[in-house]
Symmetry: C2
Subunit: 196 residues, 2 copies
């Protein structure tokens, strides 16, 4: 259950409300692990029940309060345990590559559209990951800035380096998808020289 571990990792930097968590999933963690708000709030409540976080009412606006969660020792233990355990690999299910294997059944112009869409999709992701990676490395990303405040200077290099490394992998993967789709566009031109 990786949402739980993403939340635990997030909480090691500072206490957060469900609203903070949702915002951060949108602004950073969500570029590696997508989670809708509808999963984040109940998961935080389950984690509180399981003793991994503790909730506290904090003031929210002039007349309201919200629950802010802090990670407990048990939560830190659960995070370390997950960090030290091997992940299972899911069997492959790749609709884009499956479709591409049978492009002789598509109109060439539609196959081109699929590949152009593949390029646009990954280009958008690569752009996002690149911005994230840069704001991690120069520590201008607010979550990173908060995290560096909390941990001693001798930890800063690795805190930054591992996060930059994770995004680097996603960027490389995205670029490899783009290069593949570009080869595909050339291939369609070669196989359908009349333009379709």
């Amino acid at each position: 259950m990786s949402l739980r571990h993403a939340l635990l990792a997030m909480l090691t930097a500072e206490p957060i409300t469900g609203y903070d968590a949702a915002k951060r999933f949108e602004a950073s963690v969500g570029h590696v692990w997508h989670a809708p708000d509808s999963q984040i709030y109940p998961e935080l409540r389950r984690m509180e029940k399981d003793g991994l976080v503790v909730g506290e009412q904090v003031r929210w606006g002039p007349r309201s309060t919200k629950t802010q969660y802090s990670i407990t020792d048990e939560g830190l233990h659960a995070l370390r345990e997950w960090m030290n355990s091997s992940l299972d690999y899911q069997p492959i299910r790749d609709p884009v590559h499956m479709q591409a294997a049978y492009y002789e059944w598509a109109d060439p112009e539609r196959a081109r559209d699929h590949l152009r869409r593949h390029i646009a999709h990954y280009q958008e992701q690569v752009d996002r990951w690149t911005v994230m990676r840069e704001s991690i490395i120069d520590a201008t990303h607010p979550s990173i800035a908060k995290r560096l405040e909390k941990f001693p200077a001798e930890d800063h290099e690795r805190i930054i380096a591992y996060k930059a490394f994770a995004y680097e992998g996603l960027i490389d993967r995205g670029l490899s998808e783009i290069a593949w789709a570009e080869k595909g566009l050339d291939l369609i031109d070669k196989l359908s020289p009349d333009g379709g």
Copy 2:
């Protein structure tokens, strides 16, 4: 529902029984789209009900019969329609990269294990995809041989080229994952020079 479309694509080469389909998912299509036997049999029955395939009893061993499915015109139409339609991209959920982003919480030796496992996983996949790709290109793969028998010579180049192209993309992606994990091993050595 890509299992349905994988089955339709498979059926364009020749009629198959559920058993044939399951074997092929293990031997070829399954390297792009994994499907357990428990999904394949009921899906073929649903496709028959939907008029996409037609079942016929064929002899199986000395005293038994099995249902062999052939694709119908409606099935061919459904395949072409899917081939011409754009696929949706699922939001990212990448546990390996998420875990890597927080390696400072793992024992360095465990983080190394994760990356070694990542390399082994993708190396195994790359090896499989490479063998598949080669047996497609030289048409020694039985499913490809069957397919080429069925279609006129002028279609052969594209039948082969698109399938080789699909595997090429998977191979490139696998190699990019391996290269990333190798960079990660170097990074851990740099950040944990005492070996952990």
